[in-house]
Symmetry: C2
Subunit: 247 residues, 2 copies
């Protein structure tokens, strides 16, 4: 899965990015979710850019493999399907995708061997209309309309995340010991209820429902055998501590 | 939808954040997707922090409403369900969620009136085990195992994005004019094919399949009436330009 994801992932095209920090953060976000092909069109501060390296948190393999282009048209020349990110309507008759609809389309095309890519505009102004016109469709994000401006690297992250969203988590729950067999639980409940009887815990007419409720509480813990042993030991310590204090 | 999302969204708890920039970027990411309750535990550089304001890109409503706490336990005191973000296994017997499984659980609990929250650790070290122990479950991200370290604000963004993922896009495709009726298309095809006949375009034995293929190409354009008028005008200009050159 991991290898395939990296091979087929969309090319990220940053058009006229202003801040090296954002280029570096975008590279880091790509690396987090296995995208690795970055293209940079006419970066304001030139290329390579030390601020990008510093912000990449070690995603140097992405920055070192990045290619530099003079125009957006040149940067998308070998791509078969291109989406342009924008936070506002552009009056262009293109299909509008959210990340969740875009990724299945990108993945299907990539699976057919098409090269696919996504354009991101400069921080302050976004893509120019002529750059949007190069694309097959528009990609936007389900943001709050009153606070719609995403940071450049954050927008790249959302695309990378959505691409990797179905992938495996880096670790799973602790395997632990298997769940306790019911007989161990029932034996612990009997032990606890006998101890509570001795301690005078139950009002005489309330014992059956109170005991059932407490069994319910413990059943919701989904205990392992080790948990049952630990809890039984804790109950015994309380009982024997009380006995010792009495003695 | 928008109001409801903001009301019910998870509380974001930043534990011992180091950089004001990251606090500000986290607030911006929250505002982008309609989360608004931020709690900050023992920030390294004090609070308020001018670097946070500068990086928030105007999400001051989130920063001004943020509350400051001395301990993580205090910050989660009123919450009924808490997840702890971590990039590595901690040997604690907790359920491990990805964002895509966590949000349905958070949304269900929030819908029942429970207050829910998510803990994020300091940039360099992540959450301490004692902070993780305060949580009901662990939240991690489907990152590439070899490049697993997410920036703090990026991690907050992914939670906020996943919370808002089902929401509406800020704009839709241009409504445009309605699709062209088939009769307008067929009339344009006839006009084009007659012009191509006159121009000697078709090899005699290939006309029927070539004409069908070209009709297929134009049908894939899913043209509006305006598109048909524009294209018909362009064909006429080519024909008449040729006539004029001949004259």
């Amino acid at each position: 899965m991991s290898e395939e994801r990296r091979e087929a992932g969309p090319v990220i095209v940053l058009v006229a990015p202003q801040l090296g920090e954002n280029i570096g953060m975008a590279a880091r976000a790509m690396a987090n979710f296995g995208l690795r092909e970055l293209r940079i069109v006419a970066p304001r501060d030139g290329w390579p850019n030390p601020a990008a390296d510093a912000a990449s948190a070690g995603a140097v393999h992405v920055l070192e493999a990045a290619t530099l282009h003079a125009t957006t048209a040149e940067a998308v020349g070998d791509l078969a399907f291109v989406l342009a990110t924008t936070a506002r309507a552009r009056g262009q008759m293109k299909r509008v995708y959210g990340p969740a609809d875009a990724v299945p389309e990108l993945r299907q095309r990539a699976g057919e061997g098409q090269r696919v890519g996504i354009l991101f505009g400069p921080e302050r102004t976004g893509l120019e209309n002529d750059d949007v016109a190069l694309a097959d469709g528009i990609l936007t994000f389900p943001v709050e309309p009153r606070f719609a401006s995403l940071n450049l690297a954050q927008a790249v992250l959302l695309v990378a995340y959505e691409w990797g969203r179905g992938g495996p988590l880096p670790f799973a729950a602790e395997p632990g010991t298997p769940p306790a067999p019911r007989v161990a639980l029932l034996s612990m409940f009997d032990y606890l209820e006998a101890a509570l009887d001795q301690a005078g815990f139950y009002p005489p007419d309330k014992r059956p429902p109170m005991a059932r409720n407490m069994r319910d509480m413990f059943l919701r813990m989904d205990m392992t055998e080790q948990d049952v042993r630990t809890l039984r030991g804790a109950i015994r310590a309380l009982v024997e501590g009380r006995m010792r204090r009495k003695a």
